[in-house]
């Protein structure tokens, strides 16, 4: 696209992108500043946009949402107390399920890019894996609810981990299959000539070389598990409840206590936001490749 180098065209493009960037970031900005407002600053006839100029920011909403008892002051006790425990639940479920999905997924992806399955075509196997990503979760919610109920596994963290692995496997296989397929096979050949087994060459050669790809797949799986709502809503009650479920309940019950909503919302989006800022570039590349390739 060399033809668009003219100054005017460039100016228009940057202007359009600037507008889009503002649209893209404004909701996040609004959440951040709202979480810093006092109830008084929120309950004004006109909304305020600029901290320090239009209102004095405070971190009170954040100390308030983590408060476990006796916080009934102007903010009103959030009464959810256990946010820290729920944060831990979410983290454990997301981290473990992402790790397992990446390990099992990497093995399958490696197999699909290195071996030849005589009776089935590799492409068909890969398709079978990917097609599971399409399944609407609601179709699995009822059977999960009944089957895990029979096994007495409702409201247990391992249950969430198990279903999140299933949810993320198709994706990790899809991402990593491309990764292994693009990796030069000669290094492994050489290792195997030197007497390494298939397993040795996978663990000592292919996996370390695929580390960047594994990281991206892991972060993807982590974010998807962290963001998951419907399965956690139906498969947990209290003990294994994840942060989004708890917070969705709080907010629906509590009405327009915006400082509170904003602080809780930010807490939920914190890990994905950090991942987006730190590793966004790599994730974006993975996502694009997954969609186009």
């Amino acid at each position: 696209m060399q033809a668009v180098r003219s100054r005017w065209v460039q100016a228009i493009l940057y202007l359009a992108l600037a507008i889009w960037t503002i649209i893209c970031l404004f909701p996040i900005y609004w959440t951040i500043i709202t979480s810093l407002k006092t109830p008084k600053a929120i309950n004004t006839p006109k909304p305020s946009y600029i901290p320090w100029v239009q209102f004095q920011p405070t971190l009170k909403a954040f100390t308030d949402i983590f408060c476990t008892q006796d916080c009934a002051d102007v903010y009103g006790a959030s009464g959810m107390g256990n946010l820290a425990r729920l944060f831990r639940n979410s983290f454990v479920a997301s981290f473990s399920s992402a790790l397992i999905a990446v390990i099992i997924g990497a093995m399958a992806a490696y197999a699909l890019s290195r071996f030849n399955y005589n009776r089935w075509k590799n492409k068909d196997i890969a398709f079978w894996f990917v097609s599971q990503r399409m399944l609407p979760p609601i179709a699995l919610v009822t059977p999960f609810f009944i089957l895990f109920g029979k096994l007495d596994m409702i409201d247990k963290l391992p249950t969430l981990i198990i279903v999140y692995v299933a949810m993320n496997l198709p994706l990790t296989i899809w991402l990593l299959r491309d990764y292994f397929a693009d990796m030069p096979i000669e290094i492994e050949e050489a290792a195997m000539v030197d007497g390494a087994s298939r397993y040795g060459s996978f663990f000592r050669m292919a996996l370390p070389l695929a580390l960047p790809g594994l990281m991206v797949a892991f972060l993807f799986a982590f974010v998807f598990a962290w963001n998951e709502f419907l399965l956690s809503l139906t498969l947990t009650l209290d003990n294994a409840k994840t942060l989004p479920v708890q917070v969705a309940g709080n907010v629906t019950l509590r009405g327009p206590r915006f400082w509170d909503i904003a602080a809780q919302g930010l807490l939920v989006m914190l890990p994905p936001l950090i991942i987006a800022i730190v590793a966004g570039r790599y994730i974006v590349r993975g996502m694009a490749a997954g969609a186009v390739k």
């Binding site: 060399q2 992108l17 496997l169």
Partner: protein, 311 residues
């Protein structure tokens, strides 16, 4: 099995990945792929088959075990105005989201492709929304949409436009939900479309420029025809996800006002976990599965064609 090191040394280098080595791989071939297969059979296929059974069963609150009722759930579904309403609403939602996201996303991708500096940086920034937790994003829009204290109505008033009811309006509620989706997922189209644009061969453009083609001609006669199949694949992928919409409905409207935003997933959820009729939930869910299978089949056909073209 004899160790194959000897054979390998003398064997010619492999032409294609993995073709030369089947004999030597033996167990590894299955050990590597079986965990994933067994896992998805147990937690994907098996529950799915079980839910087929639920379609033909009555299982409501207080019952110890499901009771077989044949086609009753399906008959009920056929005559259920609320179901058809949820189907219409879901289709409308998917259509609005996919089309708007496609157009906006492609335009932004074109702009990104065209700029000379800051492309990588902007691409990273613009991708942020799609990683954020839908539940939290819903809170954000709950605040933005607030009739009196929300900045959106404030801005509308500032430029002399009337305030909008957003989520509370019978008409506007679904569009307001779609807007959340558009905000969060247009980035996906941007990123994917940009990857498609970058994969186009540059020599065609150079040749066309030498022949005197202007930017508009390049866009309509070269870029669009070349990326069109990618765009179809990308937007279908997005549509497949939009069909599953639940989180934003749960937080922002609860299906209301009335049933104005009751999507299929949300109706299925209400039937099962509020009215506690799990058999009927499975019936609605299966209607959704069938609908999505059709779309997914189209997607895979587009995809295969792309694959062939590349080879």
């Amino acid at each position: 099995m004899a160790t194959s090191t000897g054979e390998l040394v003398t064997a010619p280098p492999p032409v294609a990945h993995g073709r030369s080595r089947n004999a030597a791989d033996g167990s590894a071939k299955y050990v590597f792929i079986l965990p994933a297969m067994v896992y998805l059979l147990l937690l994907g296929i098996f529950p799915l088959i079980f839910s087929v059974y639920l379609v033909f069963a009555n299982w409501q609150a207080g019952m110890a075990a499901p009771e077989f009722i044949g086609l009753a759930n399906i008959q009920k579904l056929m005559h259920d105005e609320r179901f058809w309403n949820s189907l219409r609403i879901t289709l409308k939602y998917v259509l609005i989201c996919s089309l708007v996201e496609l157009v906006l996303g492609f335009l932004v991708a074109l702009a990104l492709q065209g700029i000379t500096r800051g492309k990588a940086f902007l691409r990273g920034i613009l991708a942020i929304p799609m990683l954020l937790t839908p539940i939290a994003v819903s809170f954000t829009f709950k605040m933005l949409y607030d009739y009196n204290k929300g900045p959106l109505n404030h801005m509308l008033s500032a430029i002399g436009l009337p305030k909008v009811k957003w989520l509370a309006g019978q008409e506007s509620a679904l569009y307001s939900l779609a807007l959340v989706d558009i905000w969060q997922w247009t980035p996906f189209i941007i990123v994917a479309a940009l990857a498609a644009l970058e994969s186009l061969p540059t020599d065609i453009y150079e040749a066309a420029t030498v022949d005197g083609a202007g930017p508009w001609k390049l866009l309509t006669q070269i870029t669009l025809p070349l990326v069109q199949p990618y765009l179809v694949a990308i937007v279908l992928l997005r549509a497949i996800d939009a069909f599953k919409v639940f989180d934003t409905v749960y937080v922002l409207t609860g299906g209301g006002p009335g049933t104005a935003t009751e999507t299929m997933t949300f109706y299925a959820y209400s039937a099962g976990f509020r009215a506690f009729n799990l058999g009927f939930t499975s019936t609605i869910a299966w209607a959704l599965v069938i609908l999505m299978t059709v779309i997914f089949t189209v997607y895979m056909n587009v995809f295969r064609r792309l694959d062939h073209r590349e080879k």
